[in-house]
């Protein structure tokens, strides 16, 4: 199914991808019109020009760009991602913390959007063109065209500001000591961002499942199953469900990149202290080490999703699985 040869080639692909991503991120952040030194010491600083120059030299800001990049790369090989100038702590520690927060948010939304989206999609497909189907289709086509942050703001306005049911942001109550924060607090703060991200991610699953249901219900093999005396329930269980679920699960893994993008926007709207808000902070402060670190981690994340999707195609679809074994 998954051979050593393809494992090696996947690793080579990942390495090339990571290199390209870090070069691109490096070029973009260094050409941004933000001075990392200014964002570090602040604009009101009374530091003398000489002292500033000294820090710049110490940080290597005056070195040519390629040299700066390779210095970073050299440290990376020793497992050192550097120090974040925004948070004044090691990049690895920040990413570790932030990523845990984001992973929880993403897993919740990913699972919910997958399950609810699949069920809604099946229902819409089964009752194609019914009032329910039309409403769901219109809503999610609309949401698909709406920007995530806008949707996040609407949800924030309605549920946190107008109704006051949920906190307007952060991952824990403001002013509470970290040690006092309960699991309940965490969940309470997670609901709105997770809800936003779920709604955003669900559209694709619904529309895909719905269309697939309609196609399969009209397929030759479903008509044939009917002539073999299978009831609607049996047809759904034996043929439709399996034929939709397998590609849908695969698609769900392949959508890691959308999930990640949506997460970054949702986190910023809700000031949720995850990797998304850290990315924004790093970009605004020209925090090169942090931004590069995040780029690498997110590239690995998205790459894994696609890789899992690729492997699952082979596992689920006998035409690929058995076809390979016989080749």
């Amino acid at each position: 199914m998954f051979k050593k040869k393809s494992l090696v080639s996947e690793i080579i692909r990942l390495v090339i991808l990571l290199f390209a991503v870090s070069v691109l991120a490096f070029v973009l952040i260094t050409s941004a019109p933000i001075d990392p030194l200014t964002s570090y010491i602040g604009t009101e600083s009374t530091l003398s020009p000489e002292a500033r120059q000294e820090i710049a030299n110490y940080w290597g800001l005056n070195d040519p760009l390629p040299q700066r990049f390779f210095t970073w790369l050299g440290h990376l090989f020793h497992g050192d991602l550097g120090q974040s100038i925004t948070y004044k702590r090691p990049v690895a520690a920040i990413i570790g913390e932030r990523f845990t927060m984001s992973i929880i948010l993403m897993i919740v939304s990913w699972v919910l959007s997958g399950i609810i989206g699949f069920i809604l999609g099946m229902f819409c497909g089964k009752h194609e063109n019914s009032v329910f189907d039309r409403i769901i289709k219109t809503i999610f086509l609309g949401l698909k065209s709406a920007p995530t942050y806008w949707l996040g703001l609407i949800i924030l306005t309605v549920f946190a500001v107008l109704l006051g049911w949920f906190p307007i942001g952060m991952a824990a109550p403001i002013g509470k000591a970290a040690t006092d924060v309960t699991l309940g607090d965490r969940i309470y703060h997670l609901i709105l961002p997770a809800f936003t991200l779920t709604i955003v991610s669900m559209g694709d699953v619904i529309l895909y499942t719905r269309q697939k249901y309609i196609d399969i219900a009209r397929s030759d093999y479903v008509l044939y199953a009917r002539t073999r005396g299978e009831t609607d329930g049996q047809i759904t269980r034996r043929h439709i469900l399996r034929n939709i679920a397998l590609p849908a699960i695969t698609l769900q893994f392949a959508s890691f990149s959308e999930l990640f993008g949506g997460m970054a926007l949702a986190e910023n709207v809700f000031s949720y202290p995850g990797i998304g808000t850290a990315t924004t902070a790093a970009a605004l402060n020209a925090d090169v080490p942090l931004l590069l670190g995040i780029s690498l981690v997110s590239a690995v994340f998205v790459f894994s999703g696609n890789l899992i999707a690729n492997i699952l195609y082979g596992v689920f679809d006998p035409r690929i699985r058995e076809g390979k074994a016989h080749a």
Binding site: Y221, R226, T227, G229, R242, F316, R319
Partner: protein, 305 residues
């Protein structure tokens, strides 16, 4: 015993012309046909003339935008889209054109068994039809053309059907396999099964069927014993049947002018009239199905000659 009887069947689809003007497209009309146990009735007609719609109408598989009139009875019981379903897979079996009609991700054995079958009978049928035992563990895409055909036949036989409807079971098969398929049908019919064979291959139909139904522009123009087509061409009742037989290579290879009218622009009266050498004023009237010389025909001049 009469298994299937179709009386004056009409099938129409609701279509939309440019804009939102709705119109009815009649693909089958005035179609009458019956199948008895132990016989093969072949419906022959050119590709794209709507023969498959006939099978779909009988099996209740027509899409939502269609409607049908007329009467279909199975063993004397009037059936419709819903009531036919209790016979499906047991009393009535359908043999589709190709293995594409099997679920691509379900193993062949499980599909042949279906919901009414048993493992023992599946194995017995596989043996009987010379399918290797490991076929049941294969997926449809792993079956060769010949295997696929036999898989579809064994699926049909799973429920010990009295009536089999086969829609173009031979295209894509080489001559040897096609003949083998028809031999299987013949054996089944000789054992008492009634078979409705829908095909565009006249030669193969002539080789295996007991009666031939000539399908033209959505209707059956003539139903006659196969001998009339093979040995006594002059006994054929409809000018189109005669023209069809004369157009075969082994006969005179003689074409006639014109083409079948398209389902969208049908006219009243005999649909073959514009191409017919016997055409006269009577042909513009409604033509009923008549019994002539032991066959059925829809032609006002059939009794004359």
């Amino acid at each position: 015993m009469e298994l299937l009887n179709i009386k004056e069947l009409l099938v129409a689809f609701s279509m939309y012309k440019k804009g939102f003007r709705k119109y009815e497209l009649e693909v089958i009309h005035q179609l009458s046909l019956n199948v008895n146990s132990g016989e093969i009735v072949a419906v022959v007609g050119s590709s794209g003339s709507g023969k498959s719609i006939l099978a779909e109408a009988v099996l209740g598989l027509l899409p939502k935008n269609s409607h049908m009139h007329g009467e279909i009875t199975y063993k004397g019981q009037k059936v419709d889209k819903k009531s036919i379903r209790k016979y499906m897979g047991t009393d009535i079996a359908y043999i589709p054109q190709s293995i594409d009609h099997l679920d691509p991700i379900m193993k062949v054995g499980k599909q042949v068994m279906g919901v009414h079958g048993s493992k023992e009978r599946q194995r017995k049928l596989f043996k009987q039809y010379g399918l290797p035992e490991d076929t049941e563990k294969k997926y449809p895409f792993q079956c060769s053309g010949g295997m696929a055909r036999r898989v579809l036949v064994t699926s049909a036989l799973m429920g010990k059907p009295d009536l089999i409807i086969a829609d173009e079971p031979t295209p894509g098969l080489d001559l040897k396999m096609a003949l083998e398929a028809l031999k299987d049908f013949r054996e089944l019919a000789d054992a008492g099964t009634g078979i409705l064979l829908i095909t565009h291959d006249i030669d193969l139909a002539l080789g295996v069927a007991d009666r031939i139904a000539v399908f033209y522009a959505g209707s059956v123009l003539e139903v006659a014993p196969v001998e009339d087509f093979v040995k006594h061409k002059d006994r054929l009742r409809h000018p189109y049947s005669q023209a069809l037989i004369n157009a075969l290579p082994q006969n005179n290879f003689e074409p006639i002018r014109g083409t079948q009218p398209y389902a969208g622009d049908l006219f009243s009266g005999c649909l073959f009239a514009p191409r017919c050498h016997m055409r006269d004023d009577k042909c513009a009237c409604d033509v009923p199905m008549m019994d002539v010389r032991g066959g059925k025909v829809r032609c006002v001049h059939a009794a004359d000659g």
